[in-house]
Symmetry: C2
Subunit: 491 residues, 2 copies
């Protein structure tokens, strides 16, 4: 139970790891760096998927599925893609096992060696653009607005549940367009979809911005991103949307007959969010007692715990409770009425606190008599006894209030942890003493960015699109700066 | 377009392959045996997933996610599992690429060799039971009712889109129980879920039954299955549900403290359906003009094609159509109003016929004047002019009628292709001349089953649970038979 959960201020990292495990979200598997997403954790991911998938479809996208494996040679077709992308990949070299001739278990059959090795997809631009080549002949075939929900593998050396794992789940949108303008509009639209999702569903304030050249996706012309701040003052990239220009079209020779005649290369975008969002959700809101979930993504937004000593009392409580459950269900709110008698109410209270259930309703025989219930908010830990009359409306109102309140709390925190800094000494001091986001001037060069990273471990999270930018001078070199950019140490 | 689609009676296999490609369902990828599921095909799979997922949740299951990779040694832990399971697997041996020292592209880094090879999961019993070991201590932790939606890989030599591919998508349920009775109930319940889904959504009549020992899942005590009949007279296994006994619990040492005291091994089940269902759906109902989809799984149940020469005509038609689209949407029926002017109505008619849209509504200027529309059913190809008045109710009624009619047609076909046979000569004759299901007596031995398979290529599809079985004598050996079993040549 929540007893013994480490405190955030003592060891944030340990707190996170323990919370993920104890709240039944995920655990490490026997396979290095791969996680098991447990049912409770997966049900949060499913809610995220459902909302995002709806948003993708509303913006005209459809889902498809492309192969898990990528021929090794594909990776080198787009030069900067292979250059910039990490080479830590799972490589399939054989396609058969056989019984161990020495008698125990199975061994790899040396005769079943693949002619060309296959890479377990770390991302699918190459295999998808190789497919699009056959789908696109004319302007009539454009745009292609496709998304894929899939697992991907990047053989990370240091892994952490949800934040960085060898295998993770994600969606990757891959679109193809007739014009540059349309592709850029798509890139920006999907960035906005991600920002809306983060803010309205995850209750997570994010900055929208553009990555510096150093941090750009390998093969993209421009990478847009959303950046969030965690409770330890570190930033987390929560989603990216890439304008690919004609890079992959050129690498895979994807041309179309234009309406006006002539063959042109297709313009592309790709965009993705992953189970990393689970890490962001957990770290942004939770406390020393456990998870704090925004109602819109909570698998159990409301739990009702009956307090009873015998069947008769439970029956009376159930008679009270059933109409509320039905009424809330009809409003789209799932309610768990936990009548399990294997566990005590106290155990259940602690369990639902740990698991971040936004609203808990407790009802015992005296409440039945008095026509009251006890309401407990997970976010503020307020407990109040309220009349049963009008309970359903009260619950609906409270869920909305909790959703907003969690967002406002995260927003206030971010504002308190965002500093405008003009010189490099202060920059380093603020970074060490306070952390958080720092808005500072930068001369726009990779060299200066590299130097700052080496000196301080802070990176440019983005060139923000949602903050007024006035010119100034770089805090490191004194050269002209087009405007402040957003620095932070990051996950 | 549908012109040139091969005819079923000329070459059923070619007809299927061409239909899958031309109806934009799937295509072969550049990776041997792996398919690309195209947006239209994927949207049918999504509908299947959605319905099945709802049925799983209604029966108390939750989703989770387990690693893609399985350590090689796990496969040999359950003796009959490794013995019976095909050893054609994708084997990951390395975790890094590096730039080719000879200058071109990338090569596998020989220094990044895994200590133990990893197998891309062909099924997940081993990795899941290894995880359950930590989840289960006491009877309080049971049952575990978990499902996973995932991709799996089996390195098949001869592949066919949807029916047999190296990578495919599926769901695999893995449950753990305190008692044998409960585990068997679960196995049977999930078989019934599959049968209900096949019949009510896919409009596909299926036989429920039990596999003979030869055809049993490797590691199971009993394999239940649903078997369907395709239009070429071959059977297709559409889903399986396995009672695993305590086999995997013993292999991975999964015990629980019983309520009555003492440690006992856990009882298990696993059950799955895959993208193979897409193949079944296509082959069961489609005709020489293209797909025939049951309305409940059609991505576009209704299409409205306007026939217009100018903007003005289109506006008049749109004014008629919009209330119907809205009314049908409010009843849960997605309607596509195809105003795209890049294509002619004739082109669209052929396209929607090929893609199996159950109901097509055409409306031109004269229909606007006469307050009529033209309705065309995909399954019977009937066309009728009907009044606009009461159109929404008529459409709802027709969709239901089409769903039933497709099912009845498949059922009549199956009945006409099911033969009861008493001697082995007739058995072979019926098999060669008519195909279909044959109900015949068998002595219950693997030897006889093997002989029949060798002689005729027919296998025991199942020992049926839904057909009255009276004792008799085996058509091959003359030994006693407990009752007729269901034979067929199969996919």
């Amino acid at each position: 139970m929540s007893k013994g959960l480490p405190k955030r201020q003592d060891d944030y990292s340990l707190w996170y790891n323990e919370l993920v495990k104890r709240a039944d979200l995920a655990e490490n598997s026997a396979v290095r760096g791969c996680m098991v997403i447990k049912p409770y954790g997966y049900s949060i991911w499913e809610k995220m998927q459902q909302v995002l998938d709806g948003m993708f479809k509303e913006t005209g996208h459809t889902n498809a599925y492309f192969p898990l494996f990528i021929p090794k040679s594909y990776l080198s077709k787009e030069a900067s893609h292979v250059e910039g992308f990490a080479k830590e990949c799972a490589v399939v070299t054989h396609y058969r096992l056989k019984n161990d001739p020495n008698g125990k278990g199975v061994v790899v059959d040396p005769e079943a060696k693949l002619e060309e090795e296959l890479i377990v997809r770390p991302t699918s631009e190459t295999v998808i653009w190789n497919t699009y080549k056959n789908w696109i002949q004319s302007y009539r075939d454009l745009p292609i607005l496709v998304n894929q929900w899939a697992n991907v593998v990047r053989w990370e050396m240091r892994t952490r549940l949800f934040l960085r794992t060898a295998e993770f789940l994600w969606q990757e949108g891959h679109t193809a367009h007739a014009t540059k303008v349309e592709a850029i509009q798509e890139t920006e639209q999907m960035l906005q979809v991600y920002a809306t999702f983060a803010q309205e569903y995850m209750a997570l304030p994010v900055h929208k911005g553009i990555k510096s050249a150093n941090e750009r996706f390998a093969g993209a012309e421009e990478t847009y991103c959303i950046e969030a701040l965690m409770q330890d003052g570190k930033a987390l990239q929560a989603g990216t949307s890439h304008f690919l220009g004609q890079n992959f079209a050129k690498a895979f020779d994807v041309k179309f007959a234009a309406k006006e005649g002539g063959l042109e290369y297709v313009w592309g975008t790709s965009w993705g969010v992953s189970t990393r969002l689970m890490g962001a959700l957990i770290m942004a809101h939770s406390d020393d007692e456990g998870l704090v979930l925004p109602p819109k993504l909570a698998p159990i937004p409301v739990v009702i715990v009956p307090i009873f000593k015998n069947e008769d009392q439970l029956n009376q409580i159930t008679a009270c409770v059933q109409p509320w459950v039905a009424a809330l269900k009809s409003k789209g709110i799932a309610v768990k009425f936990d009548t399990n008698d294997k566990f005590t109410p106290g155990y259940k209270f602690a369990e639902y606190e740990l698991k971040g259930v936004p609203l808990r309703i407790a009802i015992g025989p005296r409440d039945v008599e008095n026509k009251t219930v006890e309401l407990a908010r997970r976010d503020t830990k307020e407990k109040t006894s309220v009349p049963q009359e009008g309970l359903v409306e009260r619950v609906l109102g409270l869920l909305e209030e909790i959703q907003n309140s969690i967002y406002q709390k995260a927003l206030s925190y971010r504002e308190s942890q965002t500093h405008s800094v003009d010189d490099y000494v202060t920059f380093q001091k603020v970074l060490d003493e306070k952390g958080g986001f720092i808005l500072a001037h930068w001369d726009g060069t990779s060299e200066t960015e590299e130097k700052i990273k080496e000196d301080t471990k802070a990176t440019i999270r983005c060139i923000p699109l949602d903050i007024d930018r006035a010119p100034g001078v770089c805090m490191v070199t004194g050269k002209p700066s087009a405007g402040r950019v957003l620095f932070a140490r990051a996950y």
